[in-house]
Amino acid sequence: MTFINYATREINCKIVYYGPGLGGKTTNLQFIYNKTAPEAKGKMISLATEADRTLFFDFLPLDLGSIRGFTTRFHLYTVPGQVFYDASRKLILKGVDGVIFVADSQEERMEANIESIRNLEENLREHGFDLSTIPYALQFNKRDLPDVVAVEEMYRILNYKREPTFEAVATTGVGVFDTLKSVAKLILVELRKK
């Protein structure tokens, strides 16, 4: 839910990274954090297990600059991807303005990708959102691995509504900022329409 503060001249939007476990959601955020100038980012929070699996969420606030005199801030969240953390995923989606789905390109993870998109659709619906209308982008991560599904096949199976789709290698940053920028733009365009 976008928060517009006329007194402090700030716009705050929430983007959630969704996807199956170990798909690269946290890695996306870590890369963004490492590459963003100190004055444009806040502290990154990761609520994770000892094995570095996201337990509740990762959080990274980003300042993207000013638009019409309003500081534009995006709050990036990731959800825990493991199947049994569904209750937590529902909570993190509350008030979302845009979603990035990080799909794992490995063949053995395709079922998990499909199930995760179904789960996203269902959890959004519980909050009164509709995946067919919310600002949304799809990322095919891990394109550097040997046994990955062809991009065309992944698009055929996972693309939902002809949303912007990006190939990525989150560990090196390929596609990470492109994906983020596309959803941030979609959010601002959507706000302009309203």
């Binding site: 928060f3 929430k14 638009i67 008030g95």
Partner: protein, 165 residues
């Protein structure tokens, strides 16, 4: 469809800030934060510079959301008050007007009882402010009444400029 925006105008922002300042004084608290349930800070008073307020807001909202989930699992509507006791500083969390979280950080200069008492009174005042905000939002229908929306005249170039290297 849930509400798409939370809009805070200057007048209500000042009133909320004043309410928080007053509460801080009356409760002898170190700092007070008013946070939206999605994790964004609305207003604050007190020793705020000592804290990473963005992280505080996000974690508090997560805390409240998780606790709400627990409450529903055991058949409760919600846990209306949360208290975390530290060695030196303590945190009191409560919900205001069903949509905001009031976070009070206090130390040995205050007490849980005093904080609870003052929060209860202050919450009623803040609920009135939120109700007036909601009514104002309904009354404001045209460009003559609303302050200029930051999105009204945004161009594609404005948006692209935000993301240029």
């Amino acid at each position: 469809m849930p509400s798409a925006e939370l809009v805070l105008y200057e007048e209500e922002f000042q009133r909320l800030n004043e309410a928080l300042k007053k509460l801080r004084q009356e409760a002898n608290a170190r700092a007070i934060f008013l946070i939206d349930r999605t994790g964004q800070q609305i207003a604050a008073a007190g020793e705020v510079d000592q804290f990473d307020t963005t992280s505080l807001a996000s974690l508090t909202a997560g805390n409240v959301a998780a606790t709400d989930g627990l409450a529903k699992l055991i058949g409760e509507r919600e846990f209306s008050v949360l208290f975390h006791e530290g060695q030196r500083d303590h945190i009191h969390i409560s919900i205001v007007a069903k949509r905001a979280i009031l976070l009070v950080i206090f130390d040995e200069r205050s007490s849980l009882g005093l904080v609870r008492l003052r929060v209860k009174r202050s919450s009623q005042e803040m609920e009135q402010i939120f109700e007036e905000m909601a009514r104002k939002g309904e009354r404001v229908t045209g460009p003559a009444q609303a302050p200029a929306s930051p999105f009204a005249e945004i161009t594609d170039e404005d948006i692209d400029a935000l993301f240029s290297e």
